[in-house]
């Protein structure tokens, strides 16, 4: 065989290219990297299994048809919290999406990044994205609820949450706008379109999928927030659905927190059932966002 001849007759002193196998340090390093990811996966799986297991006896229609009941947890439900979440998030979207998208358009299409005021806005947004949510609660309590006198209402909650997720909407929308190639803008302007025509007719249509993805993720963050709303005093037992922005309310995370704080065992399954509802909503939103992202992947 030719190959064996070559192998055996290699003159002495010529290096062979065959390795000595992967050294154990390489293997160990790779294994520990892999383990880091595995811990996250195992934790996630454990959390989901635990919650569903605990929730199992209560996973039926009672959770969304009945109202919270402190006396009789076996028949309690979370309807007022589910409806409250829908109300609060609808108005949060109404306030923060237009504001965030318009701010993103300004920063990407109009602002000169060298100007100090634009740099300030930029750093400000990056900082706001990392300000603890409970500090937004203090803002909601001190300025919106008491300062503006909006009280413990859907309006106060949705304004507070809008400000909380506004930086996320802005950052995601900016990325979507930035992904639209410069050549498209130039082509439009060279045809005599104005700047706003260019943005409205070329940039925004191309950026909509990215903006939608970012907006959905921002809203799902708002849905899961409890800390800022705790300060607004949404914790009292609310056993009715909101009827308007002036209405008192509770939301799912607050209701869950409330039930966790109870000592009787029935409340653990009740809280778990509400968590399952919350996670299903969030998972649906996340899947929609990921689907949108893949469906409208960039064409250029």
């Amino acid at each position: 065989m030719a190959s064996s001849v070559l192998e055996h007759d290699a003159p002495p002193g010529v290096p062979r290219l065959k390795g000595r196998g992967t050294p154990w340090r390489e293997r160990f390093f790779r294994l520990s990297l892999w383990t880091s990811l595995a811990v996250g996966v195992i934790f996630l799986a454990g959390l989901l299994i635990y919650v569903v297991y605990e929730a199992w006896p209560r996973l039926d229609s009672r959770i969304w048809t009945n109202f919270p009941d402190i006396i009789d947890p076996t028949n309690a439900g979370a309807q007022s919290a589910i409806m409250g979440t829908i109300w609060v998030i609808a108005f949060t979207a109404l306030y923060c999406l237009p504001t965030g998208i318009l701010a993103a358009i300004y920063l990407e299409e109009y602002a000169d990044p060298e100007r100090w005021w634009n740099k300030l806005i930029e750093i400000n947004i990056q900082n706001l994205a990392a300000v603890p949510s409970i500090v937004y609660g203090i803002l909601g309590l001190g300025v919106i609820s008491r300062g503006l006198g909006f009280g413990q209402t859907v309006l106060t909650a949705s304004l507070t949450l809008s400000l909380l997720v506004l930086p996320i909407v802005i950052i995601a929308s900016r990325e979507a706008i930035r992904a639209v190639p410069q050549s498209i803008r130039q082509a439009s302007l060279a045809l005599g379109a104005t700047q706003w025509q260019t943005i409205r007719l070329q940039v925004l249509p191309a950026a909509v999928p990215g903006m939608a993805t970012g907006s959905i993720l921002a809203l799902s963050r708002a849905i899961g927030e409890a800390a800022p709303l705790l300060l607004l005093g949404g914790l009292t037992f609310i056993t009715f659905n909101p009827t308007g922005v002036q209405s008192q309310f509770t939301v799912l995370p607050i209701q869950i927190f409330n039930w966790i704080s109870q000592s009787r065992a029935e409340f653990v399954s009740l809280a778990s059932a509400a968590i399952v509802i919350l996670l299903v909503i969030l998972l649906a939103m996340n899947s929609l966002a990921i689907w949108l992202r893949n469906r409208y992947a960039r064409r250029w």
Partner: protein, 292 residues
């Protein structure tokens, strides 16, 4: 470098030059006098921040002629081109000094609206950049944003016919322009530009991303369009400049002691003279491939 169009002083006799290597036969296009120039440029300098990218350019652009701007990379020819429809306005900290008159009107005058300028002076870019929309919508875009009130269907058909693209795309007007080949995309971009009915078309290396066959089609189209439009084309391809243009401007860059490059216009003349009997050594070196 493929054969340059003759360096012989006396061109173009249709026979081989005596005793030399065979060079392709070239018949240069006859330039008309520059009277009634579309653009008058005097002492034009362009700055990016503190850096003077182009220094002291003087030239006039003839009506319904093709003017080629050639020169090595970084010589500022595209920068000058972008002054003609104020696309440099869009680059932060870019500043233009000197005179650019368009039909005796100062292009950079205080009252002048860059949008209006761009509707009269269109531009085609280096890389084909059709909008991610249908072929029809690409053509209709300019007229629509300009407030066109007539029949768009007719305008689209006329424009595509004009750009010699109609027969290739008439059955797929509603399909995405991105499905076209590169050469077709670039001709669509040219068609899109003439749909606005400009007077001038600026072309920034329109064929540099295309293969030779597609390039030939674009050049044919340019010749055809020159009957009705004034065309200024920046090109790296000297054969292209020699083939299609009436006049040629040769740019190069000086490097100063700080290592910064400043584009200069070296020579501007009828294409036949630039390629057969340039008056500046640097032009001759460049077109003969000794430099650049």
């Amino acid at each position: 470098m493929s054969p340059t169009p003759s360096l012989e002083p006396d061109m173009p006799p249709p026979s081989d030059p005596p005793g030399g290597t065979r060079t392709p036969q070239v018949s240069y296009r006859q330039a008309r006098p520059l009277a009634g120039a579309v653009f008058e440029v005097g002492g034009l300098s362009v700055f990016y921040g503190d850096h003077e990218a182009v220094r002291d350019v003087n030239l006039s652009i003839g009506h319904r002629q093709i003017t080629a701007m050639i020169g090595p990379s970084g010589c500022g020819k595209s920068t000058v081109l972008r002054c003609f429809n104020r696309m440099n306005d869009l680059i932060p900290h870019a500043r233009v000094a000197g005179k650019i008159h368009y039909h005796s009107e100062d292009l950079y005058g205080r009252e002048v609206d860059p949008i209006e300028v761009r509707r009269r002076i269109g531009m085609v870019f280096q890389k084909p950049n059709p909008f991610p929309k249908s072929i029809y919508d690409n053509i209709a875009y300019g007229p629509r944003v300009g407030g066109f009130k007539g029949n768009l269907d007719d305008l689209v058909e006329e424009t595509l016919t004009h750009a010699a693209l109609w027969d290739e795309v008439k059955d797929k007007l509603k399909t995405s322009a991105l499905a076209l080949s590169g050469g077709q995309q670039q001709r669509l971009c040219i068609a899109r530009t003439i749909a606005v009915q400009p007077e001038v078309i600026l072309m920034d290396e329109p064929c540099s991303a295309l293969d030779p066959i597609a390039t030939a089609k674009i050049e044919d189209l340019m010749e055809k369009l020159a009957e009705e439009f004034t065309i200024i084309v920046v090109t790296h391809n000297m054969q292209q400049a020699a083939r299609v243009s009436h006049r040629t401007a040769f740019f190069t860059a000086d490097v100063d002691d700080k290592g910064e490059r400043h584009g200069r216009l070296i020579e501007y003349d009828e294409t036949s003279r630039i390629f057969s009997n340039p008056s500046d050594n640097r032009t001759e070196d460049y077109i003969s491939g000794r430099f650049g």
